[in-house]
Subunit: 106 residues, 2 copies
DNA sequence: TATATTTGCAACCAATCGGTTTCGTATAAA
DNA sequence: TTTATACGAAACCGATTGGTTGCAAATATA
């Protein structure tokens, strides 16, 4: 069972759920109302998001509130961090490499 | 055909390719040497990464150099941006909601 | 020119994914 | 206590995924 943050956010419905929940914690039924698919399909998405810890649950009677786990979202940001210096530099890195290769041949 | 940045980075091999290429532009053969799977499998990953514009190609004779497209990586960062204020706040948002609900019932 | 190298593409296959329907359980309401 | 509601779990299904092998095209080299 692959329960990976990146795999979790790959699905557009799950990203929509994240967006929905970010504003306010919600129950599965309330979330499902925002989508065309069945409650069970949404529930499956919630399971995946919860298993990779992107969502946290809080039981309140027979209802379960799902909310976003900021800590885990931060992990994606940490992954991106290592590439920021690349997209912030204006150099076209490939052009540089090719230039080097071509010069070596001469 | 779903060619989505989020779907592209969902695969761990593709993330490894991104990491590899980030340092320096490389050819498919050179990239494939770093993995256990066949060259064709890696080539498929490169196609997916290129189609969603995470990678750029530059032909040099019969060789093709792949490099990271920072602009597209930035898009993921832009998506994350909207959640940053959430994970930076110390409040447990759910607790607040539940508290409000409980108070209403009284 | 003949041969080797680099690469992409197509066909195929098992595993996984996202969806459905059906069911069981726990809590709230009548 | 009986009935309704909220939810998760399981079984099933077609589509997609990530891998393979085999092949064709283009470029470099002998």
């Amino acid at each position: 069972m692959r329960r990976d943050v990146f795999q979790a956010i790959a699905d557009p419905t799950r990203r929509a759920i994240i967006l929905l929940i970010a504003a306010q914690a919600m129950t599965p039924n309330a979330i499902a109302e925002h989508f065309d698919s069945t409650r069970q399909a949404v529930s499956k998405h919630l399971r995946i998001l919860t298993e990779c810890e992107l969502l946290k649950q809080e039981q309140s009677g027979r209802e379960i509130y799902y909310q976003l786990n900021g800590t885990k979202m931060k992990e994606i940001d940490k992954w991106l961090e290592q590439y920021k210096k690349i997209w912030e530099s204006r150099f076209n890195q490939l052009d540089e490499v090719l230039l080097t290769l071509k010069n070596k041949k001469k």
